[in-house]
Symmetry: C2
Subunit: 212 residues, 2 copies
DNA sequence: TTATTGTTTAACTATAGTGTCAAACTCTCT
DNA sequence: AGAGAGTTTGACACTATAGTTAAACAATAA
């Protein structure tokens, strides 16, 4: 039976395409490069996905689904916000580390200013609500309870996500400027999680008296 | 005299190229698209810059210079760190807002994993030192003086820069999720500066007693 | 074994993209 | 006005790329 072989080929093409589109963007990617990365002949791309556009859209839809999922962190509603925040950062960074292509491709699409991303966002937004909604609500609750200062939840989420994602889309530069990121990336990522939590939660300013 | 006209043409090509390379990356950019954006005929691109590669490298070198400069914030050495930090955020965000193409192009190069960025960084690094060095030293001094907690300066700089830059390279998404960013971008940017400073310096956790 | 179905391959077409060139144009100086 | 320098234009050549097609191949089931 050729099903497993075929499924394998299709999957290899798909994954290779994810990587190449992430690196080069929609227009920069070459079908030949994707074929090489998948280790197959170029016409097979067309056999499985018809056109470059369709292959891209399949990849993008997949990525967008992951992007939305990445915000779905299992949280306990009444847990202290410090724990919710720690859990979000931990889960989110792990997610992006595991799916670096996702973050890269979403950013590449943002850079290109394409409408595709906006359409997907609008559609998902209309049905599921903002991806960040849960966390924004948690921020509001924590502020009401007085555990954290009264901050703009949208700005706060943007700050947290920025701190968790940006280094993945600037890896060559980060590796250049930070020896640990170059020599032991996993250790760097773990240190990063801890740092982001501490700076976001406690800030830089020293405290004479600390709560929490 | 045709000099001013010519200089004008060359400058228009250059600026158009900056924009297109920022959006599409090196391989995704089309000479025709750059010509259209500059409002001139395509052969003129070759007249002034020979090849696409040379045009790209001219753009990249320019961008890289701006990138290095963007970290050069005039600081008073013995000012309180809160002021140094505020000044850096203010100056840095203004710089990126004014040169959005710079941030976009640097990120696009990071995504593509090209060696060009690494080479430039290594060269600049060897002669001028790390771009972030000044701020990292300020962070160390402030920690020694006890104004801020003892944090890893590299991680801290990464967090600050992430918070200041990431939204520029994710604008379509940010605009989708944040009404203010859509309706009054400048107001959003100013609010963002303030928010980044407050979160980074004070953190989210409420304080019973505050210093600084 | 042979027909059938689905997959892979090589050769091909058509188009889009880069780079070249010589003629036309423009400005300036004499 | 006419010569000369630099600039702009349209037409062209060549290459790279997307997409097609038909034949070869592999696996399965009769």
């Amino acid at each position: 039976m050729a099903d497993s072989e075929a499924a394998d080929t299709e999957a290899r093409i798909f994954e290779a395409a994810l990587r190449v589109f992430a690196r080069k963007g929609r227009d920069g990617a070459r079908m030949q490069e994707i074929a090489d990365e998948a280790g197959i002949h170029r016409p097979l791309l067309h056999y499985y996905f018809r056109t470059k556009q369709q292959l891209f859209e399949a990849c993008f839809t997949h990525m967008f689904g992951q992007f939305m999922e990445s915000f779905e962190v299992p949280t306990v509603e009444d847990a202290p916000f410090s724990e919710i925040l720690r859990g979000f950062i931990d889960h989110y960074v792990d997610n992006v580390r595991e799916h670096q292509d996702m973050a890269m491709m979403i950013v590449a699409e943002n850079l290109s200013g394409s409408t595709l991303l906006g359409e997907h966002l609008a559609r998902a937004f209309a049905t599921r609500g903002s991806p960040q909604q849960r966390m924004e609500e948690a921020i509001l609750r924590a502020a009401e309870k007085g555990e954290i200062r009264a901050v703009d939840p949208k700005q706060t989420m943007l700050t947290i996500v920025s701190a968790c994602v940006f280094f993945f889309v600037s890896l060559p530069t980060v590796r250049m400027l930070n020896p640990l990121a170059r020599e032991d990336f996993d250790a760097f990522v773990e240190a990063r999680k801890e740092h982001v939590f501490e700076v976001v939660y406690y800030g830089l300013a020293s405290r004479e008296v600390s709560d929490a």
